[in-house]
């Protein structure tokens, strides 16, 4: 399936900021299950690319002139498929065991430990099945309800609220996995809502857990909010231990009181007709082919 993504983020400041710096993780990788056909990330100043420790393509944005607005636009087309159940860790520099590390957003509590431990019998019969049960148990216990939690809410806080958004579902899943001794991590990305329909989200987050049984090894995806594995409706942007490692924008500024944030994301299925290249694109393509000869 081809997905067209249009993701615009606008920060407005009531009083101008004098300096802003942001780490952006807004560039999807081409990995098994998704192929990036075109992608453009635009910002009001030069973007400096860097690779973070998880291999995510990140950029640094610095604005050192007074500004009342930062407008980020990520657009492109990604071809996705259902993919395999297990994603190989080929090319990753961290061993799976790294993803047992505690973080503030995924730390355990007594409540959460008790909840996770109830899944031990199911897990002993098979990790894949057991983790599926865990996904449903979390979704049953924690309703999808925006406005209750925020970006700094930890797994056990959301669990105690019994409500949260996809980020909280992913954190709770990861926290439970760690309690059970299973490496797990956070994935941020997009979801084509038309395809799954259940929840009104286009920016999305889910979790991955490490499976090593019956001779098969790899990362299995668990979209807890939608009770499904990540499939062709999902486009992956970045992963890490938790939200803070993988979130699309992490920034700080000087000045700029009264921040207001507008985010609009549209993920839609492209028409199956291949897009006709514009005259300029064709001319450029010819030029670059000639220059390579």
């Amino acid at each position: 399936m081809r997905l067209n993504i249009h993701h615009e983020t606008i920060y407005h400041y009531a009083a101008p900021a004098s300096y802003s710096i942001q780490y952006l993780r807004l560039t999807p990788p081409s990995v098994p299950g998704q192929r990036v056909l075109s992608w453009k990330l635009s910002a009001p100043a030069t973007l400096k690319p860097w690779m973070d420790t998880f291999g995510n393509q990140a950029h640094v944005l610095v604005i050192d002139q007074p500004h009342e607005e930062i407008r980020l636009l990520a657009t492109g087309e990604v071809e996705s498929d259902e993919g395999e159940f297990l994603i190989s860790r080929e090319g990753e520099i961290h061993p799976p065991a790294l993803f047992l590390r505690p973080t503030r957003l995924t730390e355990a509590s007594a409540n959460l430990s008790e909840f996770a431990s109830a899944l031990r019998p199911a897990l002993s019969k098979g990790r894949r099945k057991g983790l599926g049960d865990l996904m449903h148990a979390i979704r049953d216990a924690v309703s999808y309800q925006p406005g209750i939690t925020d970006a700094a809410t930890s797994a056990f806080e959301a669990f105690d609220h019994k409500a949260g958004v996809c980020q909280d579902h992913a954190h709770i899943f990861i926290a439970c996995c760690k309690i059970l001794g299973i490496p797990a991590r956070y994935v941020s990305g997009y979801l084509c809502t038309a395809k799954l329909g259940e929840e009104g989200m286009a920016s999305h987050a889910w979790a991955e857990a490490w499976i090593d049984e019956d001779g098969a090894k790899g990362w299995a995806t668990f979209d807890v909010a939608n009770r499904t594995q990540a499939g062709e409706a999902h486009v992956r942007l970045a992963h890490g231990l938790d939200y803070l490692d993988a979130c699309p924008v992490r920034g700080i500024r000087k000045g700029g009181r009264g921040e207001a944030l507008d985010v609009s994301v549209h993920v839609g299925e492209s028409s199956h007709e291949p897009k006709r290249p514009t005259a300029r694109e064709s001319a450029r393509k010819r030029a670059s082919e000639q220059s390579q000869q």
Binding site: Y23, W50, T53, V62, H94, P95, G251
Partner: protein, 471 residues
């Protein structure tokens, strides 16, 4: 417990290294010594060498007590010690390079993987990157204690932001001022070139782009930090800028310092700020002390951090027991300095032993420092031991236990006259691109309370000038 006294020795004769000190003590009237002690205190107050004590009212500044009787090491003692320290620093740096690249020591099963990968002081952000000059620990402070004339133990490695070197330098400066004649008689190896050596070390590990004249700065958390005096002191002695996070900013893959003449690119940051606070976009998001964006520059090799991010995993007390194995694994050598036998309380059998023997053990938090959160069994009341037992039981993996060592003593001024007091030694080891160097000696800390084994300044310890005699 009978401790070895470094001046008197086991048989009561004055050790060779202490000949000059002993003669001086014998020849100087006590009234004059008292006068000099008061003079020393005035000098320290005037220099402004104070430190903040955590756990007391914010901003409580105290003078670290200074004892005017020097501690003295013979040249051969120092030679042996310094070789052991150099070996240890080489192995610890090799360990860091390994765990942040191939992780061979984990694959070889020498250290359980989870102890490194699950350690909060291990920083995944460092994985796979090349640090400028290939050095992780440019400045190490390794705490050493002595139990016998020829027996030194490493008590702990400090590989993050070790402090105390300013006291080492000031103690010497004050001693030379108070007792110039003494230094005319004893041939004491000089240490005042330390700031020069430190700057040379920092410059040697600058990024490739920096050229022959790199810009080096010292990054401090600010005046509320307990070691702020030292930060200002070292910056001044090295002739480099003392900066706080807000004085630096990131742009175009580089770090710049704000100056009255406009932005100036910074090549090497001697940072005295912990990892956790160094870049709020990568670590603790609430930190206002660091430099936002620093990690992105660092990962691309645009700036040197001394010490590197993530060195704490090598000085963590739960990793300490494996240092002798590291020396064998990376260097193929036998350790020259001994480790203190250590029980890891995460191991059930070690825990059981420790809980049975608390009154005779020293128990420490694996990630603690500064003498906080520790139990010295033989010096604690029944109640203190019971309270500590509960803490250990609640979180065994947070603690290690060691036998209580009979730390050596040195003659020290006390309210009851000159008496033996326990000491340790923190030498400072500088690791540059192609060299390891140290000025002779280090900082001697002395437990001023009779019988006390805790030398930390935050716990009522004092300091002494430390001599290494020249041949």
């Amino acid at each position: 417990m009978d401790a070895f006294d470094e001046m008197r020795g086991p048989n009561g004769t004055v050790a060779e290294a202490y000949q000059a000190v002993a003669e001086w003590l014998y020849a100087t009237p006590s009234r004059l010594l008292d006068e000099k002690r008061r003079e020393a205190e005035i000098l320290f107050r005037r220099i402004g060498i104070t430190f903040n004590v955590y756990g007391e009212d914010a901003g409580t500044e105290r003078l670290i007590p200074f004892d005017i009787i020097p501690r003295s090491l013979a040249p051969w003692e120092w030679t042996k010690l310094s070789r052991g320290l150099e070996q240890r620093v080489r192995a610890l740096d090799a360990f860091l390079a390994d765990i942040y690249h191939e992780q061979e020591i984990l694959k070889a099963g020498k250290i359980p993987s989870h102890k490194v990968l699950g350690n909060v002081l291990y920083r995944p952000e460092m994985q796979g990157i090349e640090v400028p000059g290939g050095v992780y620990v440019q400045i190490a402070g390794i705490d050493v204690v002595r139990t016998e004339p020829d027996r030194f133990f490493v008590l702990e490695d400090n590989l993050r932001t070790p402090s105390g070197v300013s006291y080492m330098l000031e103690d010497r400066a004050v001693m030379m001022r108070l007792f110039p004649d003494l230094f005319a008689k004893a041939k004491v190896a000089p240490i005042d070139h330390y700031p020069h050596e430190l700057l040379r070390t920092l410059r040697s590990v600058c990024p490739a782009h920096a050229g022959a004249d790199p810009v080096v700065v010292l990054l401090t958390p600010g005046p509320y930090n307990s070691a702020y005096f030292e930060h200002a002191f070292l910056a001044e002695r090295m002739g480099i800028e003392l900066v706080e996070g807000q004085d630096l900013f990131v742009q175009d893959d580089a770090v710049f310092m704000r100056t009255t003449l406009g932005p100036r690119r910074v090549d090497v940051i001697y940072r005295r700020l912990d990892d956790e606070f160094i870049d709020p976009l990568a670590f603790n998001p609430d930190s206002s002390l660091g430099v936002p964006g620093l990690l992105s520059v660092y990962r691309k090799g645009g700036v040197t951090l001394a010490n590197a991010i993530g060195t704490g995993v090598a000085d963590d007390k739960s990793i300490y027991p494996y240092v002798p194995d590291m020396i064998r694994f990376y260097l193929g050598e036998d350790p020259l300095l001994e480790n203190v036998p250590t029980w890891l309380l995460e191991r059930p059998e070690d825990l059981a032993y420790a809980l049975d023997h608390l009154p005779e053990l020293v128990v420490k938090e694996t990630q603690g420092s500064g003498g906080y959160g520790m139990l010295v069994g033989p010096k604690s009341s029944k109640q203190e031991i019971e309270d500590f037992r509960q803490k250990i039981k609640a979180n065994p993996e947070g603690y290690i236990a060691q036998p209580t060592l009979a730390l050596s003593t040195c003659p020290t001024f006390t309210d009851e006259g000159i008496a033996p007091r326990h000491v340790d030694l923190r030498p400072f080891i500088l690791h540059g691109k192609n060299s390891i160097s140290m000025v002779p000696g280090g900082l001697t800390r002395v437990a001023l309370r009779q019988g006390s084994l805790v030398v930390n300044s935050s716990q009522g310890g004092g300091t002494k000038d430390t001599w290494v005699l020249e041949e």
